[in-house]
Symmetry: C2
Subunit: 110 residues, 2 copies
Amino acid sequence: MLKHDDLDKVFKALSDATRRAMVERLVRGPVSVSQLAEPFVMSLPAVHQHLAVLEDAGIVSSHKIGRVRTVQLSAGALAPAGEWLGRQRLPAERRLDRLGAFLADPPLSP
Amino acid sequence: MLKHDDLDKVFKALSDATRRAMVERLVRGPVSVSQLAEPFVMSLPAVHQHLAVLEDAGIVSSHKIGRVRTVQLSAGALAPAGEWLGRQRLPAERRLDRLGAFLADPPLSP
């Protein structure tokens, strides 16, 4: 069961361009923290702080082997947020959706 | 052109259960501020504060006729956030999408 609090944390975590860029990188596959930090001009503690927010929201997980911590996106973690957004469509937008679906796949004439 | 800042504000605005509930109500159509406030146990200033956050993010707009301020959802305002989320899919999830699309509409055999 999805708690309100979970969506709060997911949307809050995504409200920062650096954290979204990290998610975009992690979609391509797991990386070490230092690889993940590479494109950003920020201190390693700042990178860890962003990762902690993403981890607390359940968006990423990490594990350490030896001295290397690897970060990966948690499968399906963003789905509830995407589904919530998908439901917030105005009646006019819904009608356009139905029209699009109709044009893509019109019912057979009898 | 979408600025990083815009998505920051939209996701931040959605990181609160009360504001999401307001959006869910506004999807059904425009309402007065007092109608919108009705289901919530909070002061009118608190309601206005939440509305200001939604308005600043471009998610809602409002207009005043006489003494009544009406709030409405801005068409398409949530689309960039939904599209961003739609792009963050792991390779395994993409493969499942393609399989689903294939099963729904397999190519014709030659």
